[in-house]
């Protein structure tokens, strides 16, 4: 048992590293998105700042810091300032329970590769991410502008509708794993069946659930083809129309941090977490699980961007009908079938 001081210090160091890594990842997923969408549309994307435009996120960050921040007089100031902060705090918090690998020993401290290992991690993530809707709804309402209000309302309605399918799609995984702990869920996906197919949930019974999760997650994070709240061509920018400079950047950071959380969760729940082929020297065996985890997260993020470059936007009535008339029954059917199959097997 370690002492209280070292416990706090270790947690603090891990928090600082996690925030730093996450914000860098957020900045570079913006870069990746611009680059990939650029190439999909036969353009180059950012090229001017640094090699391959790699310093572009840094330049954007400095620009955000030095931009004039307009707080219009017609807004409800307290909520107007609180909303972007709430958004980004909730978006970042969910990363604190996500494990990226097994336990390691660094400098004599035996620690899990995550900020903390709790046995209800999945519940915490669901709770925290669903709080994100407050940031959006408050921003839309407190801006006191028509576009913002409409964008905020649309975003709230969309996020709460898809949250139900998102929650239901996870229940199949929970039945298979029998635990809320993300570590246990990953462990339940180890090994192979039929000799070569990995026992990841996406291959092992939860394929439908994965696609329900995928679509709900896209809608939860307000991404194409479900980016109705932002809908540049009709709502300008939706709930953040009246925001500028650093406060706008915070909504942006929140959106991309949410994308990363969703990608991590998809990896942990459906794509087998850090499981993958492991061989070689001792240090390689230590590094490879983390590499597999990050590679899967990257693939998921790439899928996000690919879809953004491919699909057009839904109409709002189609969006709501899709959530309530298609995804919800599908998720319930998947849950019932999973329950029946697991019960018959045991």
């Amino acid at each position: 048992m370690q002492s209280v001081e070292s416990f706090v210090v270790v947690s603090l160091i891990k928090s600082v590293i996690a925030v730093f890594v996450l914000l860098t990842a957020v900045a570079y997923s913006v870069w990746l998105e611009r680059k990939v969408v650029g190439h999909i549309q036969n353009r180059w994307g950012p090229t001017r700042v640094g090699p391959f435009g790699l310093l572009q996120p840094l330049a954007d960050g400095i620009k955000f810091l030095f931009k004039e921040d307009i707080t219009p007089p017609h807004v409800y100031k307290t909520l107007y300032i609180a909303a972007p902060m709430l958004s980004v705090i909730f978006a970042l918090t969910s990363i604190s329970v996500i494990p990226i690998g097994n336990w390691v020993t660094i400098a004599g401290v035996h620690t899990p590769l995550q900020i903390t290992d709790v046995n209800i991690a999945l519940l915490i993530i669901l709770g925290v991410t669903s709080m994100g809707v407050y940031g959006v709804a408050l921003a839309g309402w407190s801006s006191n502008s028509k576009y913002s209000l409409l964008g905020g309302l649309r975003a709230s309605a969309q996020m709460v509708s898809y949250e139900i399918s998102l929650g239901l799609s996870l229940i199949g995984v929970l039945i298979m794993a029998g635990s809320f702990s993300l570590r246990d869920i990953v462990d339940s996906q180890s090994g192979v069946f039929w000799g070569f197919i990995p026992r990841w949930n996406i291959f092992h019974g939860q394929t439908v659930a994965f696609f329900v999760y995928l679509m709900s997650a896209f809608a939860e994070t307000n991404r194409v083809p479900f980016d109705l709240p932002e809908a540049e061509t009709e709502l300008v920018a939706g709930y953040h129309t009246e925001y500028s400079a650093m406060k706008f950047a915070m909504f942006f950071m929140a959106e991309y941090a949410n994308m990363i959380t969703v990608a991590c969760l998809a990896t942990l729940l459906f794509l087998g977490g850090w499981h993958g082929p492991i061989w070689g020297l001792t240090w390689m065996q230590a590094v490879l699980p983390v590499f597999w985890f990050l590679a899967k997260v990257f693939c998921f993020l790439f899928l996000y961007i690919w879809i953004r470059g491919t699909l057009p936007r839904f109409r709002y009535d189609q969006l709501m009908a899709f959530a309530w008339k298609f995804l919800f029954p599908l998720a319930v059917a998947n849950l019932v079938i999973t329950g029946l199959v697991v019960a018959l097997r045991s």
Partner: protein, 118 residues
Amino acid sequence: MPQNYVPIFIFIAFIAILIPVTLLAAKLVRPDNPHKAKLMPYECGIDPVDSARGRYTVRFYIVAILFVVFDVETIFLFPWAVKFKAFGLFGLVEMLIFLAILVVGYIWIWKKGALEWV
């Protein structure tokens, strides 16, 4: 273990300090030249007509109510799913009855047209 939850609060405390500090730092370095046109609510350059607190469709309220009903159901399913193997056949049958009642309600809502967005 309860002490495992402490790092989450340390993490939240850290970002809850970091984010306002970033905003304050931006306040120190950025220019500040307000102008009447800049401060108008954004409506594509046209002077705003009417208040922004207009009426909006009742559909949003219906979605909110439906969300409460079905989300409570989802939350109810979570602990059941985790203890699925411990409950055995009894738990499965019990939950199938619960879901059947729910599906009847769902079909009724659909027939009533609450899911239409017109």
